[in-house]
Amino acid sequence: MGEIFVEGLTMASIYAIVAVSFNIIYRPTNIFNFAQGDLLMVGALLAAVLARGNSMPWYGAAAIAIVAVMLLAILIDLVAVSPVIKRSPHGAGWIISTLAASIIIHEIADKLAGPDPRVLPAPPPLQTSLIDFGVFSASSFQIGLVCFTCALVAATELFYRTRPGRAVRAIAEDREASLLRGINPARVTLLSFAAGGAVAAIAGILAAPILFASTSLGGMLLLKGFLVVAVGGIGSNSGAIAAALIIGMVEAATARVLTPGLQEAVSFAVVLAILLVRPQGLFGTAMGRSV
């Protein structure tokens, strides 16, 4: 029981960070970046390669990886998102173009890095070795991960209360009207891709000590992140935490009680069931002002 709880909580933290990275881009743009999983994967792989054999301090490797992923996210916006939105602002062409970007990044990473998983240690001084707490055992990394996730969500929510944060929300409500108020939506889109990319890289770097850094990490966490935002309500970070907990626990329980092979199918079924009852997600709001 304790194992299910700790494992569920750990995975929930990672899923929640991925979901936050989706939300950061979604809130001002109403775009769900399909390349987000691959950004995360590049972050994890790059950090693992740079930090290999302690050739570079852990935090140095992480910082370089985060910056590189931010640049990559900006590139995605410039190449695959902005030109498509410019052509038809209300169309869904960005789904196909960011999907294409995702596959391109994945395939190139696959050719460069190969399919073998790489090891990335936990950020020092944290360890992945388990400490026995009696009722349950957890590693110092797992505890740090949970704390970091809470801090990240709190910081993101605080940001939306600041002046630039309110500008982001204004764009979400009315892109054209915000132009009149001196907010440049194209620039905010670019910045949110950069910020969303950075958080995605962090998600990858923090997932790697547990799940290993490999090219398959992206696709897997893209789906988990999606299930979380779908259940939590897209754009809602508190919803993301609740949904991540549900999905993390369902998976951990499935793996213990049934078989790990069924994890995906069971959590997918749970998500479909929740969405049938609440299509807008647990914390999402139904259609707002739109006319």
Binding site: I31, I103, E107, E264, L276, P279, S290
Partner: protein, 593 residues
């Protein structure tokens, strides 16, 4: 364009293509090439369904390969393990694929486009996981071997005959798809993609249409899956990798999203590619993705768009100007009585409307004026059911509209126009107007799909009806124009005609005069007066006070969400308080000076 009126000229191209394709196998001697041609026909079936969903409906599916897998495995399991004949296997394939489609689409009643993309992506991943996990059913890696060929009266359909069977099915599916797309269902699907609010205001149950499109395209994927299994005779998990789903997206994007002939063009241009690229196996997905990205950025209309552009260059015709107004007579209706009782609406911290009460007797014209932000459009949105009020009640002919959705109210004869005209860009002006009659059309889905005479007759009648309304608003000469070619004023009039086709008992016009030229304004005035003369109750939100004063029996002035004044135009516009609020005190000062 290719939205498919059932005119013979539209049949020439597909018929020619059909004959050419049917003749193709006669030239082919190699069994392998014949196999590939059959496979291409199978892939065409999938692309055809995906184009309905993604091209017309704007719902991107990244899991169509998995639906084909479900169909293929259902066929394999039913025929090999349970000894069913092929056709039984196909029935199982259609059923299971449609069921999966239904399940995936059901939460869709209120969800947006990206949801489908990811849920189908997830579905693809789950299906390939389950194929491996449920080895007792699917035989895991080794796959299902020995799937039988279809039989007709004891004769096995193989080789060329199999190609003809699959290609014939493809042609049949094309005809059904064409009939559906050209009908009200196709217009509704396009409206949902381009302008969901317009769809609701025409009375479309948007969720049901989306689910229907999903199930239809899943059923086609199921049929394709059955043929796929029979043609290969062996199916393994490798056949249904992620490449497979991406491939279909690429085919329809290359062919032209939302074009009837896109899937054929895409398949024809592309079906050999996977087989030609066997040497480049490991680069395949990368090449697909680069192709998709380039197409989406530089040429989202695909090959069909390119051909259409070419055709338009050749046959360019000048666009006629707006003609005389209100010529044709339109049928009378019984106008509704509208009662609004102490209604309020909040948006977050903003009280958009509070305590609004007004009554509009049937058959009259009522004006609502007020400065920007005074809550006029919010009031229209409440009456038309796009928002629910936070307090108070709205009655139409004495019946509370609280529990009725926007599309439900539209079906009951409450129609509206929007501040910025919400027409459907892919349809012509007359097709846009026909769309307004969505909820009146009676032809059944099956008679439309099969193109039965009754459905065709109704389609003709609807077009004639739409034409009479276009004539009524003075747009008869613009009927076949595309929305993009029409001026702003013409678009407004077309939107009014679309609302009128629904025989509204209550018509809500949201700033109909905005952006009109002087001549168009005069036409609008006559049109609105003529509408009221047919019995319809009209509520106009407008800044153009002269128009209001000319037309309206009574006027309500809103200010910051409250009713400031109500009365005849003469009373209201002479009221010092109204003048002060509406014009601003300074403007008033200069006017009296």
């Amino acid at each position: 364009m290719a939205t498919g009126a059932a005119t013979p000229s539209h049949l020439i191209a597909p018929a020619a293509a059909g004959v050419a394709l049917a003749g193709l196998p006669l030239l082919v001697t190699s069994d392998y090439v014949l196999f590939l041609l059959t496979q291409a026909a199978v892939l065409y079936l999938v692309a055809l369904g995906l184009n309905v969903l993604t091209g017309y409906g704007g719902i991107t599916s990244i899991g169509h390969g998995a639906l084909v897998a479900v169909g293929a495995y259902a066929t394999g399991i039913a025929t090999v393990d349970h000894g069913w004949p092929f056709w039984g296997g196909m029935a199982a394939a259609i059923l299971s694929a449609s069921l999966c489609g239904l399940l995936l689409a059901l939460p869709a009643f209120r969800l947006s486009t990206w949801y489908f993309a990811l849920i189908t992506l997830g579905f693809g991943s789950v299906v390939s996981g389950l194929i491996m996990e449920l080895g007792w059913l699917t035989y895991g890696f080794s796959g299902i071997v020995g799937i039988p060929l279809p039989e007709f009266f004891g004769a096995t359909v193989a080789g060329r005959n199999l190609f003809w069977l699959v290609a014939g099915t493809g042609f049949g599916a094309f005809l059904v798809t064409r009939n559906l797309i050209g009908s009200r269902f196709g217009r509704a699907l396009l409206a949902i993609k381009e302008n969901p609010l317009a769809a609701m205001s025409a009375g479309v149950r948007t969720g049901a249409v989306k689910v229907g499109a999903f199930v239809y395209s899943a059923a086609l994927a199921g049929i394709a899956g059955a043929f796929f299994a029979a043609n290969q005779s062996v199916i393994t998990p490798d056949d249904f990798s992620v490449h497979f789903s991406i491939y279909f997206l690429l085919v329809i994007v290359l062919g032209g999203l939302g074009n009837l002939h896109g899937p054929l063009l895409g398949t024809a241009a592309f079906f050999l590619l996977p087989y030609l690229m066997t040497g480049l196996q490991e680069w395949r997905l990368l090449i697909y993705a680069v192709g998709l990205l380039i197409l989406m950025i530089f040429f989202p209309q695909g090959l069909a768009g390119l051909l259409a552009l070419f055709a338009r260059r050749i046959g360019r015709h000048p666009s006629p100007a707006t003609t005389a107004i209100a010529k044709a007579a339109i049928p009378r209706v019984n106008g509704a009585q509208l009662d609004i009782d102490t209604v309020g609406k909040r948006f977050g911290g903003v009280q958009a409307l509070s305590n609004v009460t007004l009554a509009v007797p049937s058959g009259t014209i009522h004006g609502i004026v007020g400065p920007n932000g005074s809550g006029k459009t919010t009031l229209v949105n409440l009456i038309s059911g796009f928002y629910g009020p936070d307090g108070g009640e709205i009655h139409i002919d004495g019946i509370s509209s609280a529990a009725v959705s926007a599309s439900g109210l539209a079906r009951q004869g409450v129609r509206r126009t929007f501040q910025t005209p919400k027409l459907i860009p892919d349809l012509s002006i007359v097709e846009n107007v026909m769309f307004g009659a969505y909820s009146d059309e009676r032809a059944s889905l099956s008679s439309i799909a099969l193109g039965l005479p009754s459905a065709r007759r109704e389609a003709r009648e609807r077009r004639a009806e739409a034409m009479s309304y276009l004539d009524f608003v003075g747009l008869a000469a613009q009927a076949d124009m595309s929305v993009g070619e029409a001026t702003h004023g013409q678009q407004r009039l077309a939107e009014i005609a679309r609302a009128l086709v629904g025989r509204p008992r209550l018509l809500l016009l949201d700033e109909p005069a905005a952006g009109l030229s002087m001549a168009e304004l005069e036409g609008l005035r006559e049109t609105i007066a003529a509408i009221a003369a047919t019995g319809t109750t009209v509520v106009i939100v407008e800044h153009h006070l002269e128009l209001i004063a000319d037309l309206c029996a009574r006027v309500t002035v809103l200010d910051r969400g409250r009713v400031l004044k109500e009365g005849t135009p003469a009373q209201v516009f002479a009221d010092p308080e109204v003048l002060a609020t509406y014009m601003g005190r300074r403007a008033l000062g200069t006017e009296t000076a």
